[in-house]
């Protein structure tokens, strides 16, 4: 039992961090970023290149992922999303753009980093074993703690910094924020950069445990969509809750339903659909997202 909870918490922490970046971008710009998973993969490959190929320390790789992805996010916002949002008649048009960017990043990743599975060797050895009740490798604990620290840092940034306050104002009411003198363009760019950076950071963190390959992008995006829907799209606390809930569901579901085999994920997904049908705005979201 303890093991199931521990697994769920670890999984939840990494999921929550993935969902945070996605929900941030969504709340600021009403853009569902299909390329989020690809950004995550890109971040993982950057860390891999820096750490495993160039032999630099892990923290340097992580920083490199964060910076490169932040720059990439800012550029994507300024040169792609901004003009399209301005010109298109319907919000949904940005979905095609986001999908195009996702394909583009897939192509770039294939050309630059190759088609193989990559991984950074374990950064900490050893396994924590509490009387066979909880077994958790130290590197997993470390990554879990780092993920929680990043989540806490992000919340602090949103709560207490000027940038964070401006972005929250923007998320609440774009028009009002603009009238109050918030530079909408500037904070949209910062928000997108921050969201992309978070994706890159998770990629960098997880490349030490799960490794990375170019196929992980699409499925990661979809999982992140699920999480922000559980919690409520565009709500920071909702994304965190959604991440932990999905993590727990997988952990518990896989154990409880193990005997029934193939239907484990069917049950998880189907119950999510039922939940959303009854509570369309998720746990904490605004209705009608």
């Amino acid at each position: 039992m303890e093991q199931i909870l521990a697994n769920g918490l670890y999984l939840g922490a990494q999921y929550a961090l993935i969902a945070l970046g996605l929900t941030l971008i969504f709340s600021l710009m009403n853009v569902l970023n299909f390329a989020h998973g690809q950004m995550y993969v890109f971040g993982g490959f950057v860390t891999y290149t820096v750490v495993a190929q160039w032999g630099l320390p892990f923290i340097v790789g992580l920083m490199a992922s964060a910076i490169i992805l932040a720059v990439m996010g800012a550029l994507i916002e300024v040169f792609l999303f901004r003009p399209v949002i301005r010109k298109s008649k319907r919000d949904e048009s940005t979905m095609l753009l986001a999908a195009g960017i996702a394909f583009f990043l897939d192509a770039v990743i294939l050309l630059v980093f190759g088609e193989k599975q990559r991984g950074v060797p374990k950064i900490v050895d050893g396994v924590f074993n509490w009387d066979m009740r909880i077994i958790m490798p130290y590197d997993r604990i470390l990554i879990g703690v780092l993920a929680v620290a990043l989540i806490a840092g992000f919340i602090a940034l949103m709560q207490y910094s000027k940038t964070g306050r401006a972005m929250r104002a923007l998320a609440q009411d774009r028009m009002a924020a603009q009238l109050m003198g918030v530079d909408v363009d500037r904070y949209s760019m910062i928000g997108f950069a921050l969201g992309a950076m978070l994706a890159g950071l998770v990629g960098g963190l997880l490349v030490t445990i799960t490794g990375i390959n170019l196929g992980m992008g699409g499925p990661t995006s979809i999982k992140a969509f699920l999480m922000i829907m559980i919690g409520g799209a565009g709500v920071i606390s909702g994304a965190i809750a959604g991440g932990f809930i999905l993590g727990m569901m997988e952990s518990v579901g896989l154990t409880v339903l193990a005997a029934y085999g193939d239907i484990t994920y069917l049950v998880i997904f189907a119950s999510l659909m039922v939940f959303l049908a009854f509570r369309p705005q998720g746990l904490m979201g605004k209705p009608w997202g």
């Binding site: 990494q14 088609e115 193989k116 991984g119 196929g215 193990a258």
Partner: protein, 395 residues
């Protein structure tokens, strides 16, 4: 028709000019061989190793003057199509091959694609070499598909039997991704294990292909305390994580799979936890590799930067096609001649030392010879490289 006679004229012209000028391999007629498989997306690694093997071998043949079929030297051209692992695209790819007048195609890489291209292949006289295991592709009335590797229902029992006899394995557990190929392989693997008298303690646990943490997946499996954990149809991307999670959960038994793996990926993803992991290797080992195989690896590495152990198997399909044509030149245009030749075909295996033979097998699995014979090499991983556990042949 027009195209064929054109080909024949060019062939004649080429022969004539070679006779007059002595040697000029640039004048060789072109023989096109197709590839339809997945070279982008999550499963890109599978098709890429096919395509690169074929291109490496073709470039090598062309550089050294072409391939001799019935006294004519042919330059080999590889025509590739990326089906994105989508069966609907695979059909389009096969149609393109038919349009280009190609009769021999390597691929597709997965079950659904291989089944989907069957009508096109049969209508257009195309022999194809899938890397997919469904038996109905290779048993009569189907006759155009030739399995390009060793199937898991052939390698699995060999591995389980070896481990029963040498390691005293009694209880076995299976875990598979919830996709067609892995699930089918799990079912046939579990059936084979039961037939051998093993106790199957768990064969119902599955995982999504995009799982990032396998601890929850493996927890209930490990609790059944198997002696052998089989990762059915595991992709190279998931294998290191599964091994790592199993070991970190305290599992000490054996772990095996019937798919080919990559040593570098295992080293990066699982490190020394992967030691002792048993997998089916590419069809070569340092002891088995001939000089030609070694040169192939060198050329492949020079051309594409990095070798893939799976290409040890995937180099064979093209070699079989060409060698069978050399045995019966009519097969270039006539697949019935090819099929007739297959039953008796035998040629020296250039990639193996000793007197190994290229020949078609599969009679006991499919009732007809619809499989290339490649050595079944079972490897065990040790500190960043594979060591050969045993080598067997499939009949």
């Amino acid at each position: 028709m027009l195209r064929r006679s054109f080909l024949r004229t060019t062939a004649l012209a080429a022969v004539a000019s070679i006779a007059m000028l002595g040697a000029a391999h640039a004048e060789n007629p072109i023989l096109k061989i197709g590839f339809v498989g997945v070279t982008s997306g999550p499963a890109a690694a599978w098709g890429t190793s096919n395509q690169r093997s074929m291109e490496t071998r073709a470039a090598w043949i062309n550089e050294t003057g072409g391939y001799d079929i019935g006294g004519t030297k042919y330059d080999i051209e590889i025509v590739s199509f990326d089906d994105q692992k989508d069966p609907k695209r695979a059909i389009a790819g096969m149609e393109q091959m038919a349009q280009a007048g190609i009769h021999y195609v390597v691929g597709p890489n997965v079950d659904d694609g291989a089944a989907a291209v069957r009508p096109v292949a049969e209508q257009n006289d195309i022999m194809y070499f899938p890397y997919a295991f469904p038996k109905e592709l290779y048993t009569a009335p189907a006759s155009n598909a030739i399995l390009g590797m060793v199937a898991n229902y052939q390698s699995g029992p060999a591995i389980y039997k070896y481990l029963m006899e040498n390691n005293g394995v009694k209880k076995v557990a299976f875990v598979a991704g919830n996709e067609s190929d892995p699930l089918s392989q799990r079912d046939s693997g579990a059936a084979a294990a039961r037939e051998l008298g093993l106790e199957v303690v768990s064969d119902s646990v599955t995982y999504q292909m995009d799982t990032t943490d396998f601890t929850p997946v493996l927890l209930p499996v490990i609790q059944t305390a198997p002696d052998l954990l089989v990762l059915s149809g595991v992709s190279p991307a998931n294998a290191p994580q599964l091994i790592r999670s199993a070991r970190e959960l305290g599992y000490t038994g054996l772990i095996s799979t019937e798919t080919a793996q990559n040593a570098a990926v295992l080293a990066e993803g699982a490190g020394e936890l992967a030691n002792g992991f048993i997998s089916v290797g590419g069809a070569s080992t340092p002891d088995l590799a001939s000089d030609m195989m070694k040169e192939f690896v060198t050329r492949y590495t020079a051309m594409f930067g990095e070798y893939n152990d799976e290409s040890n198997t995937k180099v064979y399909a093209l070699e079989y096609i060409l060698a069978t044509m050399a045995a019966n030149p009519a097969a270039i245009e006539d697949i019935d001649a090819f099929k007739a030749t297959m039953d008796t075909f035998e040629a020296p295996n250039p990639f193996m030392v000793g007197d190994a033979k290229l020949k078609y097998v599969g009679s006991s699995s499919f009732g007809q010879k619809r499989q290339v014979s490649v050595p079944l090499v079972v490897n065990v991983y040790k500190d960043g490289a594979f060591e050969t556990l045993f080598v067997a042949q499939v009949d």
